[in-house]
Structures are given as C-alpha cells and as structure tokens.
C-alpha cells in the first residue's frame, strides 16, 4: 500500500482507538496534575515568592571535608546563580522557598530547598567513576574495582531507551555475550525470545539463571516484568561470579534489581507513556497474478511440457484487472453452489481463480498502534522507603480483520517497601504482580499452530479471491452480503486462542545488624503463584454458495471450546550470614555463608468439548459434542543448597575470592542427588602499585583477573529416575463391549543419571585511561560442559526399548568479549558517550557416542552450526555442456533430469561420482563444510549525547559473520515451490530461462523431487548466503522542557521524546529475508511461517511531579 495511505491510517487509528483509553487516562492525569497545583499551593504563598532572603554557607567535599571552590549554585527554575570562592563560601539572594542546585564537575549535584534558612552548608559526593561503582553480585554487592569474576552491568537508562514489547527484548545488545535472539515466534505481540549467556552450553538447552530481587524467575517472568521497574542488571558470566548459585547457574546468571525508594528521598510521582506506530518489515509483496501465472506456467512447462493455466483463464485475469470483471469470484461452472477459486483450499482450488490479491497486504495492517502507560511513586522518610508502580501495555497485533481475535495486554503492579524498625532491624517486602492477556486468531483445522497460519498468508496465490460478491434474489435484493473467505474469513470468524497469565511474586525479608557494619544476618521468604489459563474458542461458520445455500462449513480445529488451567506454586527461603572486616587497614575480609531451599508444585487441568452450539459464548456448557479430557498433569521438584563465599584482599591490590556450594535436587536418585560446586578467582590491581604512579596519568586503571570453577545443571525432567506406568484411556480394541483403560510399561531408567557439569575458565583485563574517560574490558573464556545428556550407545535390539539417555556427551565453548567505552563531559551543557561491544563464541562437540562419526548425528570434533554442502560451478547453459559433463560424472546421487538451467555440482574428489560417500567424517565423498550457521562476532554500538535539554541515544546491533544455506522449502528465496506452496515476489524473478541465461536462480520445475527442483537446492556454495548484518535497533531523541516553565505547574521534570525501533538494516543477505529471523530448525521464515518483525515510530512524554 502507498505511503500516504499509511499516514491516513495512522490518523484514523489514533482517533478510532478503542474505548478512548488514552484520552481517558491522560484526562485523568491532567486533572490530577491540576489538583496538585491548585491544592498544593495557594495564591498568597505565590505572592510571598517575591520576597528575597540572603543565604550563605560553604560547600565541601563529603569525604575529605575540603572546601570546594568554583561550585555552581543556581536557583532552580531561574538563571540566577553564583559560584563559591576559594574557601568554598558563597552568598546568594533567593526566595525563602527556593530550591538551590549545587553542581560541580566530578561531583554529584545536589538540590536543597531553602525553607527560610539563611545558612546552608553543603557537602557534595564525588561522582562515581566506573571503578568505584558498586555492582550487584550473588547475595550481595561488590565494588567493581575489587571484582575478580566476569560481571557486566546494564543500567535502567539503557533499558528505558527501548520501546519493545517485553523486558527480555529490551536487554538485547546491552551486554556482550548476553545473546538475545528472536524465537520462532518472530514479531508476535507476545513473542518470547531465545537467550543465552556466552553461547551454547549444552545440547539439551542452556538457559541462563534469572534472579529478580533475589528470587528465581522464569524466562516468561522476565518477559512479563515491567521494564520501567528495572533499576539495574548484572550479568554474571563466569563460574567465579555464578558459583554461589551452584547447580542452578551452569550457563550464566542474570541478576535483576527493581527500583526501590531511598530513605529521606523526596516524594516523586512519575508518569510516562509511549505510543508506537508499527509496520512490519520484510513483507515483500507478491507479484501481480499475471506475472505469477507466467512463472507458474514456466515451471509446469519445464517439467511436463504443458502449461498449468490456459489462455482462457489468463484472459479472465486480464479482464478482472481491466475492470471488466468486478467481482473477485463467480459461481463455479460445474457446480452452482461453489465459488470459483475457493473450494479446494491450499491444495489448489485457487487454480481456478482470477483475482489479483497480495495476501501480505490484505492480511497485515499497514500500521498498528501500541500504547504503554506507566505511573510510579517513589520516596522515603527516616524509617520507610517505598517504590510503587503500575503499568499498562497494549498491542492490538498486526493482523487485519482479526478484530478482537488478536490483542495483547499487559498489566503490572510493583511495590517495594523497606522499613527500618530499629537501628539494628530492617524489614522489607517486594511484591510484583503481572498479568498478560493474549489472544490470537484460531486457524482452520490443522492450522491451529500459529506458524502454519502465517505460512498460508505467505503462500496463497494472488489468483485466489478473498471475498465473494453479495448474493441477490430475483429482484436484485441482497440476500446474503459480501462474505469474507479463506484467510480474512478465518481470522475474523474462526475464533481465537487466548491465554491469561497472572503471576504474583512476593518476598519478605528481614535483616539484622548483629554487629553494625560487620556482621549481618538476612533471611527471606519468597512465595510465587502463577496462574496460566488458556482458552481455545474454535468456532464453526458457514460459507454460502452462489445459490444461497450453505456450502462449506469452516471449523477451526474440530470446533471446540477447550480450557486449560495451570497453577504453579513456588516457595523459597534463604538464610545468609555476612561478615565484613578490615584488619590493620590492609587485610579486607568478607565471609558469607547461607542456605537455600526451594520447592515447586505444578497442577494443570485441561478439558475440552467439541461441537460448540452457541459460538458467541465461551463456556464448555455450550458445547454438545465429545468431551476431550480431562487431563490433569502434576509435578513437583525441590532443591536444597548450602553455600559460602570468602573474599579477601590485601590493600585492594591482591584480590581473592572463593565460592563453594553444595546442592541437592529431587530430580536425581538419592545416591546421585548431591553435588559440590567450587570456584576460585584472583585479581591484581596493578594500578595500585607504587611503581605504577608515573603511568597513572594515562592509564589510571589496570587490573588482571582470572577464575576457574565448576557449575551444575539440574534442568532435566522431574522424575527421570522414578519408573512410572503411563496410563491411557480408550484402548484401540474393544473388550467386553467397551474400549478399556490400560497401563503401559515404565521407561527404562538410566542407572547413573546425574548432573550436567560445566567447567569455566576466564581471564579478564580491565583498563581505564585518561581519568577513566576511556574504559576497556576484555574477557577470554572457555566452558567445558561434561556429563551432558546424550545417547547411551548402541545396544542390541533385544533390549526391547529405546536405551535411556545417559550423561555421555561433552562440548566446549570458547569465546571472548570486548567492551570499550568512551565518555566525555565537554561542558556542563554537553556530554557524550560511545560504547562498542564485540563478543564471540564457538562450540565444539568433544564427546558423543557416535563412533562412526556419521554426519547426520553429532560427532566428536564437530563445530556446532557447520553446514555441509556441495561445491558448484554455475548453471549448465547448454545441453551439450550437460551431456559432456554427465559422460564423466555420475550425478545420480543428487538427482536426475539435468538440463540447461540446473546446478552443476562438482566432483571434488575426482572419482567420477558426486556423492556423500558413507556420510561419515572419514568418508564424506564430495560433501564439504561450506559454512557455519551460528552467529559470530556479535557487535553492538551504543552512543548517546546530551546537549542542553536535548538528549539523543542510539543502539546498533549486528552479527559479523554468519552463513545461511537456503533450504529447499524456502520459497522467499527460491520462489517456485510445488504448486500451492509457491510465493512469487519480485526478487525471485531472476530465474534461468533461455532468455535469461545469466540468472542467479535455477530453472523452475514443477516437482519437488530430485528429478525436479529439489536437486538444485542441495546446500551449495552457489546459494550460500552471507547473513551478517548491522541494524539500527533503537534511536531515542528527547527534549526536556526547561524547568523554568514546568515548575510553575509543580512539574519537576517534563520530557517529550521520539523513539524508533528497527529503523535501518544493512545486510548482504537475500533481500526477502530478515537476518534476525533466519531459523533453520523450524523452517519458519523461508515459507513465511513467522510473524514479521516490526519497525516502530514511538512518541511519548515522561513527566515527574
């Protein structure tokens, strides 16, 4: 659709937005603001503001007490100000209720209300430089300078600059080797992401351990977190930093702290909103139907010598496009109750159609609007600190015609309270509630999986109609109005799948200072309740034929109402004792010891009933057909851990840390359930040595650190070691008149099943130059995973069952991370920063039971992601070329029917046969490793600048090296596929024909076999794609309204901003393919089985009262 059209749609979307939610909310807020102004100040006080008093005092360094000369002092909201003299003294005329802002380079600025005082002495804290930052680590914090492990940090500003649907998405690109990629859900409103820390850890999955405010969280809980609530994040990458979590943290830890109030902090109310206008990227339009038929006929002509679609029908298509035929379909000549081009569905009914529809355009909106609102309050008194926030997010999805069948809403409520009951006892409570309500349209039978549905949108031929004409009676009255058919009809009428995920997590914690600042005891208890309900409302609807009679009953997935309820309850408690002490000002010691216990129960209930009688209702009571279920899966697990940490440094020069954790899990048999996980790490702050003094002006920080440790992974099914008898209903045999229940045999139990272990080594260096304006961190690591679950080796078939998986495989992952950061403050009005991150990892199988090294399985020495394929020498151009090549070369392994326009595969080993030998590593014929599908050299660049009231930041993300071999079924690449699976876009028209011998793509053929087109689509060097890319993920431009204007309406801070997501992409990948969505395992993108990603333009305001 045209661009100007899109703008119209934006406007209409704005105005017609459902239930005027925004208007309502913003009106409410405005009234509240007005209230504040009117109630909070009265006119007489405003008059008093004209009185002036003289305020004097001194400004000094908070640590040293030294007076600070040259400090800027400004009356907030004005341009009036002064500076301190050489003694740090100042004097200023100000209204008695004014706020004075003290600022000085290298120090944190401070705002102080005069409150009728005439003398105000101020101390300023030095601004925290990189190394002085405090970093959250497991069960505590650590000064960054004294860290010995590999920990990287993400702060709230970095996260808040994004405008994405989930907190997980907001983390991508912010920490090197915290890899967050699109999952098979692509750009769906509720899309989950794939994430790992430092690459593949295990063949059975390598999810990082996520901890939010001290409690374990699942990936979906992270996704459901309101990312405005995040204060900061630590990513613990190596064993030394993760070892305190032992068997839970084999593949990295993501520690998230939400925002808290601070004691004696002024009350602050913040409201922020976000309106994003999205369109979907990488949705290339289909060619015109006449062009489509041309390709179609070329392929059938090449295959069988006959064209599939004849002149008569082509003439009809022309007539339709000329406007001579108005309707998209007409009665079928052979059956007056059928419509042309509809019956027969995806398997080819549309052969008889004549319409000209671009299904991507029909089915995806040109623009969709999402909205996000967030309200938070923060503050504290002497004894109490609080943070309370509420958030709302809505994304109506991108599917046209879906109406209420597609929608995504998220509600969040967070409350963090801390109370200092006495000077030795602190009590706190964190509470997080999230609710996600998500709906997406149901497909037809067999289209229940979302991907299949998107696939149909992508592959449907332009010939097929999407609506019927109105049916009229003899007098020309409309009996049945226009009917939507196929996809629009399905999306609109088939019903929906909905889930509602409600999660409540609350932690109560108490902290006792036994010896102040030396010995503390902390205990906490977490309770989590997750209620995940799913409703499948699959409706039945009727299409009326041209004669007005019902013709097809469409029904989504057997027409049923299905309800699923899943309750997960989790409890955990920790008791931790912490001792900190410095001896003789040079031995700094910290000892921590604790226990943790966790327990989780899951209880699910599913029941369904077919044959829905009242499709508008959503209760099983209104279905009359067979009952499916009920099914009631239940499970539970528990863990117990004892852990300790000893940190010691000598004058902050020589650093040592050791961790030990002893973990038990219910998932392994009694004798194998306990594991010991130690780690040790060392660091050396060279810049603290005296001999470094001469260099310290240039290189002010130099630290070398190294670590080694062992971690475990207990993430296997709950009861692998306990033989259970599966129980089934309705045997396929009738005994005494009925199909009875029956029991099955327990699966074989591996006698020695136990932990997967990962051994991690890490060497890192931290550098700071030019007074820490330039910082660099480099880490090199390897991680060896042993005892991975793998096959238990070949056993005689007389065993009578599949051998169980055992701890028989190993792999090693090696990689590095570099982070370079430049930040500079040119003046008080201008500062900027740039961060460059580069990360890499490669995994190799080091142990696997595949003695023959058959290439179709994992084998020792295999680099994960390697692509085996064939070398090629272009396309055959003449029959003589084919014939002479075939005389010397046997190509029968790869296919038959070689002819001009097909791919010429090379006989690399010169044996006259192109084949894969025995498909083993030692005998692989002419097959070679031609590339690797794993993303390498992931990079990101963040830049930001602040100039007066304007701030600008951006995030670029990319992959430096990646190969992609298009699969046979990738129609976005190859275009032509077997009849009903074809997608013809502009990009795929460059195929070989006698008139286009220099084409890139081979001759189209109408047969998916090795005599048809499949033979040209073996993975080959000719079609190997360079999938590296760099993308402007996010751009953020903000303007802060001058305080002088906003203060008058009691607004502390008002910022308006524009954000953009996915604005630009640079890649040499095939133009139809989104480099973020290449996912070979699920053959998603190539056949359009994925929801495209969105580009967004976002507007919003951020206001603090």
């Amino acid at each position: 659709m045209k661009k100007n059209h899109a703008i119209l749609k934006v406007l209409s979307a704005l105005w017609s937005f459902k239930e005027f939610k925004i208007l309502w909310l913003s009106t409410f807020l405005f009234l509240m603001a007005v209230n504040c102004v009117l109630g909070g100040s009265n006119p007489s006080e405003t008059h008093e503001a004209f009185q002036q008093i003289t305020v004097t005092g001194t400004v000094s360094d908070a640590q040293t007490g030294d007076p600070l000369p040259g400090v800027n002092i400004v009356i907030q909201g004005t341009t009036q100000g002064t500076t301190t003299d050489v003694d740090g003294s100042y004097s200023i005329e100000a209204p008695p209720d004014a706020t004075l802002v003290f600022s000085f380079v290298g120090y944190q600025s401070s705002s102080i209300n005069v409150q009728n005082r005439t003398e105000i002495n101020v101390t300023l804290e030095q601004a925290v430089t990189e190394l002085e930052e405090v970093v959250a680590v497991g069960y505590g914090t650590q000064r960054k300078e004294n860290l010995t492990g590999s920990v990287s940090q993400i702060n709230s500003e970095e996260i808040e600059m994004r405008s994405v649907n989930s907190a997980t998405q907001a983390l991508s690109g912010l920490s090197p080797n915290l890899n967050i990629d699109a999952s098979v859900m692509g750009g769906e409103p509720d899309a989950a992401m794939e994430m790992n820390v430092r690459g593949i850890g295990s063949l059975s999955g390598s999810d990082p351990y996520i901890v939010i405010d001290g409690a374990r969280a699942s990936q979906s809980e992270l996704a459901a977190l309101n990312y405005r609530d995040i204060e900061d994040i630590s990513v613990l990458k190596d064993a030394a930093s993760a070892a305190i979590y032992g068997a839970q943290a084999a593949y990295g830890v993501i520690l998230i702290e939400t925002k808290k109030g601070r004691r004696n902090q002024e009350f602050e109310l913040n409201y922020q909103n976000n309106f994003a206008f999205k369109d979907r990227i990488y949705t290339p339009p289909s060619v015109n139907s006449l062009k489509y038929v041309e390709v179609f006929n070329d392929a059938t002509l090449n295959q069988s010598g006959q064209v599939a679609i004849g002149e008569e029908q082509i003439a009809k298509m022309r007539a339709y496009q000329n406007g001579e035929i108005k309707d998209q379909t007409a009665p079928h000549p052979d059956n007056p109750n059928y419509w042309l081009g509809i019956e027969g569905g995806a398997s080819g009914g549309w052969f008889s159609g004549y319409a000209n529809n671009d299904w991507m355009d029909i089915m995806y909106k040109d623009i969709e609007m999402t909205q996000r609102h967030n309200l938070s309050a923060r503050g504290g008194s002497d004894n109490i600190a609080y943070y309370i926030s509420g958030g709302f997010f809505q994304d109506p999805g991108s599917m046209n015609y879906a109406g209420k069948n597609e929608n995504h809403e998220q509600y969040n409520f967070t409350s963090n309270l801390t109370a200092n009951l006495t000077d030795w006892f602190e009590l706190s409570n964190n509470l997080r509630f999230s609710q996600i309500d998500n709906r997406f349209p149901a497909g037809l039978d067999g289209h229940g999986v979302r991907g299949r549905f998107y696939h149909d949108i992508r592959r449907w031929a332009p010939l097929a109609p999407y609506k019927t004409p109105a049916i009229k009676d003899g007098e020309g009255n409309v009996v049945i109005p226009e009917q939507l058919v196929v996809m629009p009809g399905w999306v609109k009428k088939n019903g929906y799948t909905e889930y509602n995920d409600r999660n409540l997590t609350t932690t109560f914690a108490g902290k006792i200072n036994i010896i102040k600042e030396e010995l503390t005891l902390r205990g906490d208890f977490t309770y989590k309740y997750d209620d995940y309900n799913e409703t499948f409302n699959y409706k039945k609807w009727t299409l009326f034929g041209p004669d007005g009679n019902p013709n097809i009953v469409n029904q989504a997935n057997s027409n049923q109402i299905r309800k699923e309820s899943n309750v997960t309850k989790y409890t955990s408690f920790n008791i931790v004792l912490n001792y900190d002490k410095s001896f003789a000002d040079q031995h700094n010691l910290s000892v921590l010891t604790g226990v943790q216990q966790e327990e989780q129960f899951y209880d699910g209930l599913t029941v369904a009933r077919r044959n829905v009688i009242a499709p508008d209702l959503n209760s099983i009571n209104v279905a009359a057909g067979d009952l499916v279920g009920p099914f009631n899966p239940m499970s539970s697990w528990g863990t117990l851990g004892i852990f300790g940490r000893l940190t010691y440094n000598f004058r902050e020069k020589y650093l040592l840390e050791t961790n030990l954790r002893y973990d038990g899990t219910s998932r392994f048999p009694e004798d194998d359930r306990w594991g010991l996980f130690p780690s040790v790490s060392l660091g050396y702050n060279i810049h603290r040595e005296n001999f470094w003094e001469p260099l310290s002006d240039i290189i002010n920080t130099l630290k070398i650190r190294g670590s080694y440790g062992k971690l475990g992974n207990q993430e296997v099914a709950s009861y692998l070691h306990l033989p259970g008898l599966p129980f089934s209903r309705r045997l396929n045999w009738i005994l005494n008149g009925e199909r009875p229940d029956y029991a099955g045999m327990p699966a074989i139990v591996s006698p020695e099943i136990t932990w997967e272990n990962s051994f991690n080594r890490n060497i890192g260096i931290d550098l700071g130059f030019l007074n820490n304006r330039l910082n660099a961190t480099l880490d090199i690591y390897d991680r060896k995973t042993e005892n991975m679950f793998g096959p238990s080796g070949a056993l005689p078939a007389v065993l009578g069952t599949n051998p169980p998986q055992t701890n028989s495989a190993s792999l090693i992952t090696k990689g590095f991370e570099i982070e370079i950061n430049w930040r500079d403050r040119v003046s008080n009005d201008f500062n900027y920063n740039v961060t460059f991150m580069l990360a890499d990892n490669v995994s190799e199988i080091t142990e696997y039971l595949n003695p023959e090294k058959v290439l179709s399985q994992w084998y020792v020495g295999q680099t994960i992601g390697e692509i085996w394929g064939w070398k090629t020498d272009g396309l055959y151009q003449t029959q003589e070329e084919v014939d002479s090549y075939l005389e010397t070369t046997d190509l029968s392994f790869l296919g038959t029917n070689w002819r001009p326009g097909t791919v010429k595969y090379l006989d690399l080993n010169g044996d006259g046969v192109v084949n894969e030998g025995s498909n083993t590593l030692s005998d692989h014929g002419d097959k070679r490793v031609i590339g690797n599908s794993q993303p390498r050299y992931r990079l990101s660049i963040q830049g930001g600048l602040n100039w007066k009231n304007i701030n600008l930041s951006m995030l670029w993300e990319g992959v430096g090296k990646r190969d992609y071999a298009p699969e046979n079924y990738n129609t976005l690449f190859w275009g032509w596929n077997r009849r009903a699976h074809t997608t013809i876009t502009e990009a795929v028209l460059d195929y070989w024909s006698e008139d286009n011998t220099g084409a890139y793509l081979p001759l189209p053929l109408d047969d998916n076999s090795y005599s048809g087109f499949a033979k040209d689509r073996h993975p080959s060097t000719r079609y190997l794609q360079d999938a590296s890319y760099i993308r402007l993920k996010s751009l953020n431009l903000g303007y802060t309204i001058p305080a002088s204007l906003t203060e008058k309406v009691a607004i502390k801070n008002l910022r308006v901003f524009f954000k953009g997501e996915n604005l630009l992409t640079f890649t040499s990948l095939w133009e139809n393919l989104d480099p973020e969505l290449i996912d070979k395992s699920a053959f998603r993108q190539g056949t359009g089985r994925i929801y495209p990603l969105a580009r967004s333009f976002v507007f919003g305001v951020d206001v603090t009262f």
Binding site: E598, Y719, G724, F727, A743, P751, L799
Partner: protein, 562 residues
C-alpha cells in the same frame, strides 16, 4: 533445622502410577494386560492380508516372494518391544495377591498366551531366536547371548500355552473378546502344526532342525485341535443357506454369540473404533490388489471335482462364467456383475472391476475381494477417514481347528474317514459341497504337490479355500516348504480379458493392460519379466537378522544364505 528439610528432595510423581503402588490387585493385572490386544493385529482387512502369497496380487510384487530383500542395517522385524513388555508383566504379576484366584489366573494366563503369540511371530520370521523370560536393562549380560534353536523356543511357547490353557477361563465364562481357553488350544494346534510340518518338509535342507521331532509336534497339534473338534459347545456357523452362509458369516456386525467365533475383534463406530474396510471391500475401489487366477482356479466345481476334470466347468471368459457351477465360496469371495454393493433403494450393483482406475484404487486382477464386505448403506458412507465400518473380525475361528486336526492327522498318517467327516466334511456341508473321501477319488493333473498323497493335496486345497484371504497362506507356504512348487519362477495372473466379451464397459481404458498368451491379465510380466518370482529356496524361508545386531552381539549368527 535446615538439614531436616532434606525431605523436600524426596519427590514422587504426582500424576503417574509408580511401580511401588501398582501390581497389587487383579485389576492392575487387567489394566496392564489390556494393552496387548491390539498387537493381535487387524482381523478385518481381507483386501490385503494375503498380498504376500499366491492368493492375492498387489501392484508391486512381494519382495519376499521375489527374493529381492536385502539385509537391513536395523529393524527388519527384529523387534523386541512386545516381548519386553510381556516379560515385565509376568515378572511383576506374581506380586499380585488381591483379587479372586479366577481373575488372577485368567490375566496371568493371558500373559503367557501373549508371550507365546509374540515369540511364535519371531520364530516364523527368524527361526532360531534368543529366549528371554526377564526384563533386560542396559547392563544385562543377557543382551549378548546367542540364539536358541527354534525347537527349544517352540517348546517354551508350548509350555506357555499349556500354562494358559490350564489357567484361562473358557469362552462361555470370559466371553469371546478376551483370550480364552479355546483360543489358546486353537493357537497351540496352530503352533504345533507349523513346527511339525516345518521340521518335516524342510528336513535335510539348511532350514532343517537338529533333533527334529515332527511326529511329536504333529501329534500335539492333533491333540490340541481334537479337544475343540470334540467340544459339543462349538459349531460352525450356518443358517442352512449354503449359497450365502459363507459370505454372511464375514459380514456380521456382531460376532458375539456366533459359535464359530472362538475369539473376535469387535469394532464399534459409536466408540470411534470402526473400520474403513468398506472403502475397499464394497467393490468400488481396488486397494491396488486382487484375487489371483491361481486361487480362483483352486475352487472345486459344485460336483466336488477340480475344474479341469469337471464336466460342468463353464470356463472363465467372463466373471459370470467363473463362478458358474463352482464351490459357492468362490461366488461369496469375489465381486460379480449384479451383486449388491450397497443396499440403497435402488441398490447399487457391481458392474465391472476397477481395472481402469488410477493407482490408488486399482484392482490388479479383475477379481475383487468381496469376502468381508457389507451392503449396509450405513456402513458405506462418508470419507475414508470416517470409521463407519462396523463388521467384527475373527481372531480365532473354529474352522481352522477342524482343518488343523485333519491336516495333522493326515501328516501323521492316522487320518480316518471318521476324522474327515467331523472336520473337512462339516465345512463342506455348510456350503453344500460334496464330502471328501479318504481316497479322494480323482487325480487332479494340477495338484500343487504331485509328490504328496492325494488326501494331503485335497486337505491343503480345502484349507486354502476355506481360509482364503484370512492371512494363513504365506505361513502355509513357508511351513510346507512349498515355494518351489508355488512360487519360484511363477507369476500370479488375473482374470481373462477377451476383448469385446470380458469387460466391454471399460475396454477403451484397459486396452493396454498386459495379458499372457491365453489373454489372462499378466501385470507381473512387466514387473518380474518372464522368469517370475525369484524366491531363493536356500535363503528366503527365513528373514535376515539386521546387520547392526550382529555387530552389537557377536554371538548372534546370520540366517542361511544371507
């Protein structure tokens, strides 16, 4: 306090029964043993049960008969899942003490029956196999034992069956859907007859058995069958309508109560467990198969004489002629012009075979299977995925017992006219065929086994006719070592195709069909060529063990010739 919490680590499955709380009552035995019933196989698909023999001709020649199998790397029928699962049952069944002894005996009896059933399948396919009575684990030494000689396995099977016969309830108590004493007896006679004739006819070949004891097995076959032959409570099905009874007995919606049905497979579309055999059996589609000319020619004329000795044989130029004056079982088994396919009003009648249809629906020979069909319109509707078919199937049928008895006695040389009269001749009387006498009374120049006695030839003929398409023929050819007479170098043929006479309705569409010099449909000339089936009598009577198994277990040996 903390360490006392270690019990959080003791978690039991919450939605699955564990071994620890199963195996206590007879109900547990029943729940577990039920799972084996479907392994008995589908007893309702007459359209393809003998595609591996000279009775039915599939589109592509059977690879065993053609000798074109190769040694598989894995699989190839060397499947031990059922035996593992039944041994698990037998190992644990002893723990059960709660429940009536009758119930416990019944289910444990079923357990022994099923183990015998599964082992018999292994012996038929591989000959010698290892014997297991326990559940193996991945570290069991028994994974690596050599094969036991086949007769040892057969003895173990007989032991299991004797246990079953002693413990199972009779059909009148337990019913026809569960394994019962009569079924076990019939199965025992089948196993013993198989082993007896195998040892006898493969004697002196690579398939011969050391310490062969065929007489003993034949006697046991006769003895087991005799119990049933003499059982007054079991009769052949008959309504006194010899022209149609044979057809009718296979188109019963409900076999419960039919005396001939010793054990049945019940189907019930109302419980989502119907069949869809009607799609092939009602004569409209061909299932890529068809009855062979060889089987058709084996039917006697109504006067009890073979077709080439009979004066009333009308020839086979048309389908009508073929069934004229023949054993009524022929008319009951193949589709002929005018027969009612679907009893709608007016009825849909059979006009010509699906010789002209596309590959999926082709009838290969022109003789389409009618046995097992139903004209009931209720069952001839919907699409192929709807399981509307409601005809029950015979798992064990009394006629087999009669035939096993007659054959065993004949092989033993102890057959009497009295034996014939209470077995073969009862079967013949049902369809109005003349009795068979001990001296036969004619010499058929086309006897399959000219070296064997006339009575054995005729008993084998009777077995072929009566049990046609019920899945016996392949086993019979193997145990009789009859491939040299019936298979090697031969091709099955179809109906006669004389232009202008045989199938005028579809002639224009089948004019290029291959026929032999006598104009019998000869599709295999295209597939097999003039040399016919390539069955290798020094190799193909047994299947090869998969290659990988010989590597994993070095004490396994390969079967002869492979």
């Amino acid at each position: 306090m903390m360490l006392s919490c270690e019990e959080v680590l003791d978690k039991q499955p919450l939605d699955e029964i564990t071994e620890a709380n199963f195996w206590s009552t007879s109900e547990d035995l029943r729940l577990y043993i039920n799972r084996f019933y479907p392994s008995i196989g589908d007893q309702t698909s007459f359209e393809d049960m003998e595609n591996n023999s000279d009775n039915l001709q599939p589109l592509n020649p059977n690879r065993i008969l053609d000798g074109t199998r190769s040694v598989p790397s894995s699989g190839g029928g060397w499947n031990w899942g059922n035996i593992r699962e039944i041994n698990y049952f037998l190992e644990n069944a002893e723990k059960v003490t709660t429940g009536t002894q009758t119930d416990i005996d019944q289910y444990i009896g079923e357990g022994h029956f099923f183990r015998a059933y599964f082992y018999f399948q292994m012996v038929k396919q591989f000959g010698d196999v290892p014997w297991y009575e326990m559940v193996l684990n991945i570290d069991s030494e028994e994974l690596y034992v050599p094969r036991n000689p086949r007769n040892e396995i057969i003895d173990n099977i007989i032991e299991d069956l004797d246990f079953a016969i002693d413990h199972l309830q009779g059909r009148s108590q337990i019913g026809q859907t569960r394994v019962n004493k009569e079924a076990a007896l019939l199965f025992k006679s089948r196993v013993c007859l198989y082993e007896g004739t195998w040892e006898k006819y493969h004697k002196g070949t690579v398939f011969g058995v050391d310490n062969s004891n065929e007489q003993q097995y034949l006697q046991m076959a006769a003895d087991a069958a005799e119990v049933l032959v003499n059982d007054a409570n079991i009769q052949l099905y008959s309504t006194g309508d010899p022209e149609n009874d044979y057809y009718r007995m296979f188109s019963q919606e409900d076999l419960i109560g039919v005396s001939e049905a010793i054990m049945v497979q019940v189907v019930d579309p109302g419980q989502q467990l119907g069949t869809w055999n009607w799609t092939y059996l009602n004569g409209t589609r061909g299932a890529q198969s068809g009855i062979t000319k060889e089987l058709v020619d084996a039917y006697l004329d109504i006067n009890g004489l073979p077709i080439n000795l009979s004066s009333v044989y009308e020839g086979d130029t048309t389908l009508e002629q073929v069934v004229q004056n023949r054993d009524p079982r022929l008319r009951n088994s193949i589709w002929n012009r005018g027969e009612v396919q679907i009893a709608t009003d007016p009825p849909q009648r059979f006009a010509f075979p699906a010789l002209h249809k596309g590959a999926m629906d082709l009838a290969t020979t022109g003789y389409m299977v009618r046995k097992g069909s139903t004209p009931d319109p209720e069952q001839n509707t919907g699409t192929s995925s709807d399981q509307y078919g409601a005809l029950d199937g015979y798992v064990f049928r009394y006629a087999e017992a009669l035939l096993n008895y007659a054959e065993a006695k004949a092989e033993l040389g102890t057959l009497t006219q009295g034996d014939l009269d209470k077995t073969v001749n009862l079967i013949r009387q049902r369809v109005g065929m003349p009795d068979l006498s001990l001296n036969v009374g004619f010499a058929d120049p086309n006897w399959n086994f000219p070296n064997l006695s006339p009575i054995i030839n005729e008993i084998r003929r009777e077995r072929r006719i009566e049990l046609a398409l019920e899945g016996f023929r392949f086993d019979d050819i193997m145990r009789w070592a009859a491939a040299d007479e019936l298979i090697v170098g031969k091709r099955t043929k179809g109906a006669r195709f004389i232009e202008g006479i045989s199938f005028p309705e579809i002639e224009d569409q089948i004019s290029d069909i291959s026929v032999d010099e006598n104009r019998y449909i000869d599709r295999y000339i295209d597939r097999l060529g003039p040399d016919g089936w390539g069955f290798d009598v020094t190799r193909d009577y047994l299947s090869p063990l998969p290659e990988e198994e010989l590597e994993y277990n070095e004490s396994l040996t390969q079967n002869p010739g492979w």
